[in-house]
């Protein structure tokens, strides 16, 4: 038996244990008007009893802004304007309470940052390698959750190192990877009883059953690319969208960034910040030409990338069904409707 148990009241002790060896433990916390993943303070507790956090823990491995290079602008220096890497070391870290959809999103980001093309992204790589994921299964999926459409589920373990199940009085912890197993072993937690493992299974089945019928976006892969691209569907579909970008900033799978230089005093920085295909500036050329001149093209890009191009390239949709874009869109653009329309 490899499953472990942590009593609800012992959660603090468990987290303290995780923090040993200098590990940073990220957990969902109230941050003014939202719930975000933040490093837990000693004796701090994560908020695990709410639905999924406002922002996914993508920001742990791919922060909204980060510096990549430094340079001196002092012309008297021999190394003036020579780029130097910002050191990428950091502590080992654990993300506690990541939901299964967001963990799958890490695998999608892996493809973009680590597998695609000839080069790995060193910034992502360094953070990703020292991060362990302890996921929390979803006992009560929201009505906006559709992880099961995209190949996941409320208790899916893909991408996780450990799966945690809330049994009420107790958290059940089941290792998924070797790293996860080693971590649990080192913490010397009590073994879970067979009945507890059984209860966990039951909760998972009930959660999945509560989610209703899944539509399969994989059908979109079979469709002709140019037909979808040129479809009159986009003319109307995009109209209500105000191109605010919230959907992409909150999306756990979106990976666009913009590189910017900044100078303070005689010190220059080159960094990257999250960006979004919803903005005209993203594709604006220096000449003034914009290959995505209107909202329609930008809107189409978002969905074609997620649902078609990414499938063609990697076999999966670039959406894990977390439902954030559906929940937070001020204009009620619902990706589920787009999936249905494109697969029809």
């Amino acid at each position: 038996m490899s499953a472990r148990r942590v009593g609800r009241e012992a959660l603090k002790g468990f987290i303290t244990g995780l923090m040993e060896d200098g590990r940073t433990v990220w957990g969902p916390q109230e941050f003014q008007g939202s719930v975000r993943f933040r490093p837990l303070k000693k004796n701090g507790t994560p908020v695990l009893d709410v639905p999924n956090a406002t922002l996914s823990p993508k920001e742990v491995v791919f922060p909204p802004s980060e510096w990549m290079f430094l340079f001196s602008t002092d012309p008297g220096r021999e190394d003036a304007f020579v780029l130097k890497e910002v050191p990428q070391e950091g502590p080992e870290q654990v993300i506690l309470g990541i939901r299964p959809c967001d963990a799958r999103a890490f695998q999608i980001l892996d493809r973009v940052f680590l597998e695609q093309g000839a080069h790995e992204d060193p910034y992502y790589r360094s953070k990703r390698d020292r991060t362990l994921l302890i996921g929390l299964g979803c006992n009560t999926p929201c009505s906006t959750c559709f992880c099961h459409w995209t190949g996941g589920g409320p208790f899916h373990t893909e991408g996780l190192d450990v799966l945690m199940t809330d049994l009420g009085d107790v958290y059940l912890l089941e290792p998924v990877t070797e790293r996860g197993r080693a971590l649990l072993d080192a913490l010397q937690l009590d073994e879970a009883g067979a009945d507890e493992v059984e209860r966990g299974k039951h909760i998972a089945e009930e959660a999945r059953a509560s989610m209703g019928e899944a539509k399969d976006p994989r059908r979109i892969k079979e469709k002709d690319l140019m037909a979808l691209f040129g479809s009159p569907f986009w003319e109307r579909a995009h109209e209500a969208c105000v191109k605010c970008g919230v959907c992409t900033y909150l999306c756990p799978t979106c990976s666009c960034f913009d590189i910017q230089d900044e100078v303070r005093g005689a010190c220059g920085f080159r960094g990257r910040n999250w960006d979004t295909c919803m903005f005209a500036l993203t594709t604006l050329h220096a000449s003034g030409h914009n290959p995505r001149p209107t909202g329609k093209e930008r809107f189409r890009q978002r969905f074609m990338h997620k649902l078609k191009y990414f499938q063609d390239d990697f076999g999966d949709v670039m959406c894990v069904g977390c439902g954030r874009c559906v929940q937070y869109c001020p204009a009620n653009i619902d990706i589920r409707e787009i999936i249905e329309a494109l697969s029809a």
């Binding site: 003014q32 008007g33 802004s65 105000v242 919230v246 900033y249 913009d258 001020p330 009620n332």
Partner: protein, 315 residues
Amino acid sequence: MDTRVERIRSEAKRLLESGEVDLVIGFRKGSIPMVSRPWFVRTVEDTELLHWDGFCSLNLCNYLTKRKEKVAVVAKGCDTRSLVGHIQENQIQREQVLVLGVPCEGMLDRRALQERAEGTEILEVVESDGRVEIRGRGLERSFPRQEVLQHCCRICRHRNPVLHDRLLSAEVEEHQVERYEDVEEIDSQSPEERWAYFQNMLSPCIRCYACRNVCPHCYCTECFVDCSRPQWVGKSLDLNDVFTFHLFRAFHMAGRCTDCGSCERACPVGIPLRVLTRKLEKVVSERWGFEAGTDLEQLPPLATYRPDDPQDFIK
């Protein structure tokens, strides 16, 4: 059915049939509770989906900027005020727009409702007779409508359309509510405290610019945050840059913001941004007696001047 919904549909139908307009912009029911979807109607069939409820909060004036065709728009008080701004700033011509005014009872605050559900997901909201009922798995509660209005609606002084071609229901009573309690509270603090207050308030900002993009009045071809020569403001999450973004976003709204609340609603991390724009609203009103979007004849305050404007702060 709500008689307003019937009126909206029948007016839209008539306008499209008669060819008076090419397009009607209104709302339809959203795919999830607590948000209605802007709906663009060009055919008589599509008028059947037009809808009205307490979640039609998005400022529809957003969709009018630089439009070419003749368009009818379903508009509450704040939308019409923003429209006045748009007409004054030449973003659309008065003759092009047919305003289907809806006197507004205030829109409902989704976040406040969700809070009252205490962790249970709201699956349905029913509005009736000044009450709002929320329903979910094992959840059934109701509140007086007044208690769960958006903050901007609770302090709204122009619930009736200020400009309209048709009025779709009887006018509602206007209230001379106090609008600046929180602004005054901050004003009474020391600079240190105010600085700390805003640093803290802005610290969760992720620079997604949704607050800018959902505002009907943010339509510049190039936003100052996007300029790179000169780079007025750094693009990272450095709090000083975040502060600068908000300082200027608000500044650019002086005398223009109609307090529709779209920015605050769109902000995914829940920053109470309107305190900045309302501070300016207060300044503009105290100094020049101006109120944004209430008078087509009056020029926006920064587009005009009076030789005898107050200048006590100038040496």
